[in-house]
Subunit: 563 residues, 2 copies
């Protein structure tokens, strides 16, 4: 059961005391040849894209998507359940491969809490994965900022493309929580130091290059998408692209090695492919298409996650990623905890250990909304109740009875404490619903709908909003984007993860609210239009006491204080 339990070692202690198999051994079990594997140390490796060619006739494994209720500071353990479920399927004799995102360093330095699962359901080596891993995110930062430098240099050297420095939409990025870089003025210092202009830094995981990296199907597609990025508008308000600058080749070169998916293992040696890491609040929130495809080629079951609640990551997985993936998911797991549902029911974080069935009764409405959303997509699902020691019998009984009354398939999991064994009930229930129910997966909106109608569909059907309201900026942008021929693209919503609405304070299942669309951003290379709602930030800040203050190395050079 999750971290509340006393005397259980910390995630990093469990991780560092686990026996890993050599990555060559994990690869062997997947029949990956020596030539197809590039080891990075003894426990991580990059996988050659040639594997797709070798296995092109092999049937894809069944994709299971793991999502959750709206997250709270109490924690839901979605990554932990993802890993635990993969391990449980392995224990049941299924050939399961996990596909996950790689963590961003920004939040790691800021707020404790890993992105590699927890307890006995972790991917390893957790400290490597949580720090620089195989350098993919650094490569994306570099490509993003090389493009920025090339844009400003183009202007400085004569600006033959007639770029309007006031209309550059390509921002620089760092894989860092650094609020002081949100709004900056650059190019100061006179004629030899560039052209002064407003600029800003996003966190790398919000970069369009991260999205492209995660949606591209091969190196050619990667290069093509990079070439389509709109970086600015010229003085005639026409879009200027990477192709106009002629640097899509250089950007592709900077990404070519990072583009190979990474193979690691769980604590119980289930293979896991970890690749790409866009956040789900400010980006599309899914691991790379290559990672999921690779897992589907190598396994019979793919357990994959999408970020935050089903209103964010899962919505975008189903409406955006599936259109590039070419594989429909077969089932969904919706993770909830009694603690988090009590918070949605109005209990403060400090009082979560006290039994409160009434609060649970109120909070379960949040879970209910996400279940309805998954039903809208036509997918079978199981609710996974991720148990904590503080959960009381009365609370568990209530939740199970509630599920039974609504005919909601449900399973208790203890994957944090017991690893795969703690996920057997979930795995069995899942196999059962997958067998029983015919899936009829459908996207939530056809691409032909107008930009405004697509946004309204998501807001009403997924968030439960009364309607949307477009700012005057957003209205002008819709007109402009339609004129450019971009109206057919899907929408990538940027919204707080804490609420179904755009107000992080509104927990549970808010009703009657309006979603304000502040601004749109064309991500033509990624192939979607970003719609920014509320106050959502594309560059996070650090808290008063950053996690960095606790971090250190011990006398053997091992990381300590990392979760």
């Amino acid at each position: 059961m999750e971290k509340a339990k006393i005397k259980i070692p910390s995630d990093i202690e469990i991780a560092q005391n686990s026996d890993m198999k050599k990555i060559t051994e994990i690869a062997n079990e997947l029949q990956i040849t020596d030539d197809e594997l590039e080891p990075y140390g003894h426990y991580k490796a990059k996988l050659s894209l040639n594997i797709f060619n070798r296995l092109k006739d092999k049937k894809d494994g069944k994709v299971i998507l793991v999502t959750a209720i709206n997250p709270t500071p109490a924690g839901e353990g979605k990554s932990t359940v993802t890993v635990g479920l993969g391990q449980a399927l392995t224990k049941l004799g299924k050939k399961a491969v996990i596909a996950m995102r790689e963590p961003s360093l920004g939040p790691t330095m800021g707020v404790k809490g890993g992105a590699t699962g927890g307890g006995y359901s972790q991917v390893l080596p957790m400290e490597d994965i949580n720090l620089h891993f195989t350098g993919d995110i650094h490569a994306i930062t570099t490509a993003n900022n090389a493009l920025s430098a090339l844009i400003d240099n183009h202007i400085q050297q004569g600006n033959t493309l007639n770029i309007d420095p006031r209309r550059i939409i390509w921002k620089r990025v760092l894989d860092m929580n650094d609020r002081a870089l949100r709004k900056v003025v650059i190019g100061l210092g006179g004629p030899f130091q560039g052209v002064p202009r407003e600029d800003g830094f996003d966190i790398t995981v919000a970069s369009e290059i991260m999205a492209i990296f995660c949606l591209a199907s091969d190196l050619n597609d990667l290069k093509h998408r990079l070439s389509q990025i709109v970086v600015a508008f010229d003085y005639n308000k026409n879009p200027v692209t990477v192709k106009d600058l002629g640097v899509e080749g250089a950007l592709t070169m900077l990404l070519k090695d990072a583009f190979k998916p990474n193979l690691v293992q769980t604590i119980e040696h289930t293979p896991a492919i970890i690749h790409g890491g866009p956040f789900a609040n400010i980006a599309h929130g899914c691991n790379s298409v290559l990672a999921t495809k690779m897992a589907a080629k190598l396994g019979d079951f793919v357990v994959t996650e999408a970020g935050f609640g089903a209103d964010l990551g899962a919505e975008k997985f189903l409406n955006i990623k599936t259109r590039s993936l070419g594989i429909d998911p077969e089932a969904v797991v919706i993770v909830a905890t009694i603690r988090a549902l009590k918070m949605h029911g109005g209990v403060e974080k400090e009082k979560l250990t006290e039994e409160n069935v009434q609060a649970l009764q109120h909070g379960v409405t949040n879970l209910k909304k996400h279940i309805e959303t998954i039903e809208l997509f036509g997918l079978p699902y199981v609710v996974a109740i991720n148990e904590f020691t503080s959960d009381t019998k009365a609370e568990i009984d209530f939740l199970q009875t509630w599920c039974d009354q609504h005919e909601i398939p449900v399973a208790l999991t203890q994957v944090w404490e017991k690893g795969g064994d703690g996920g057997i009930q979930l795995a069995e229930k899942l196999l059962e619903v997958m067998e029983k129910k015919q899936t009829s997966f459908n996207h939530l909106y056809p691409l032909e709908l107008s930009i405004e109608e697509k946004i309204r569909t998501i807001a009403q059907k997924v968030y439960g909003a009364k309607d949307i309201e477009l700012s005057s900026t957003a209205k002008k942008q819709i007109q402009q984007f339609e004129g450019e021929g971009w109206a057919h693209l899907p929408i990538c919503m940027a919204k707080t993860q804490y609420s179904l609405s755009d107000d992080p304070q509104k927990l549970g299942r808010p009703e009657g609210f309006i979603i304000l669309i502040r601004e749109l951003k064309p991500s033509i290379g990624a192939g979607f239009i970003v719609a920014l709602t509320g106050d959502v930030m594309t560059m996070p800040g650090l808290p008063k006491k950053p996690a960095a203050l606790q971090m250190d190395i011990d006398e053997n050079g091992k990381a300590v204080g990392l979760f």
Copy 2:
């Protein structure tokens, strides 16, 4: 002979068509155990620091330092000669290991010209090494910018250390040539977006963390040095350090894997250790102490280079790096080309293919000054004339005769065209002078000299300046630094690489000039005081036609247009 020759394939073509040995094989030949090797793909690896412990009683190999005349756009091929000499020593049956710096991506995207040697004297895999390699520079960028974010966050969250935002000397960095970031204003946008202040970005290779990374002797020393970094002054003008912020543990954690030296091979399979990469104009210009020490433990001869001419890299190698290294160099190679010496003699780049003995006669004064500098350090040396096809017999004869007349040991090399075979003459001459001459290496100044006197010593003895002039800022800083107890540190000069003076236009051997010291910067963690001269920039810019425009991948995903 260098690239002038027709129909010789390009560096990247030669590199990509070479047969590499598996890195495990190279490691085996060096008796490195499986546990001590972390492969990064099949042809690169990180080396465990445990090797030092295992070999602590083994005698260090002899260190040979490769330096050059002041560089010109005509090219000297110092890296090429470094690699070629290592290969030649191997051919002579010596156990040679090369130690070099890792290239920065900034110049790679800007101006064609690799940092991995050329022709048949290259380190491989050249495109990996020239792109992200094993991610070391990215880790340094991350640590540097994490520190920046933590400083600005500290101020935002109440500023208990009383940091004066106008007196923050810690700058952000990117591994990029990006002039528009030289001077910026950050923290704009209101009270939730940080505190507005002036800031600027340097290129990563100029970061004090890069210098620390290259001078630290082990992980504890790394952490100690990081803790000593002065990031700012408070409102009482007292220094604020990383230790005051309490984040030296986090920074060490971010660097712990990068800190392990990288093993690769040359085109002829001579082992090469490539680690750390400070520029020699704006930083101390040498590969890491760990790289050189590791090479000395693994080989009987270490061939290592320091950046740009002997006025920059070699001066700093000998006055700064040797104090941390604990191994004195035994000999120096001074690389020169007839083309570059003709430029120093006044010939334009376009006319270098025309014979011009008179210009050579004028230009050789530049070589003469660097020879005198090396003699001041008490070290034996050989001048290596790196041949080009455009060199005429009359020119070569002149240079050889000139050397003979001055009793200067000299050797012709054709390492670009012939690999190790082209360096045999140099290697033999070098072994001869090492055997004959008793070395009596000495630093050029004792640490007890005042800051001003140390700078004057370098300017007069190494650059041949008449005197130095301190700006009023520099004068005030010297007073302040002496008050802080920093007067005993060595000096790291920041100066143009193109001239012995601080004016890049003054080629040959200028005389009677004054070196203007514009500003000083305390690098207390690195353990030196940086003295900035002339207009030297710590963030380069991109040229009108950046090399990035030529870069691409081919249908097999291989890099093209990279040199």
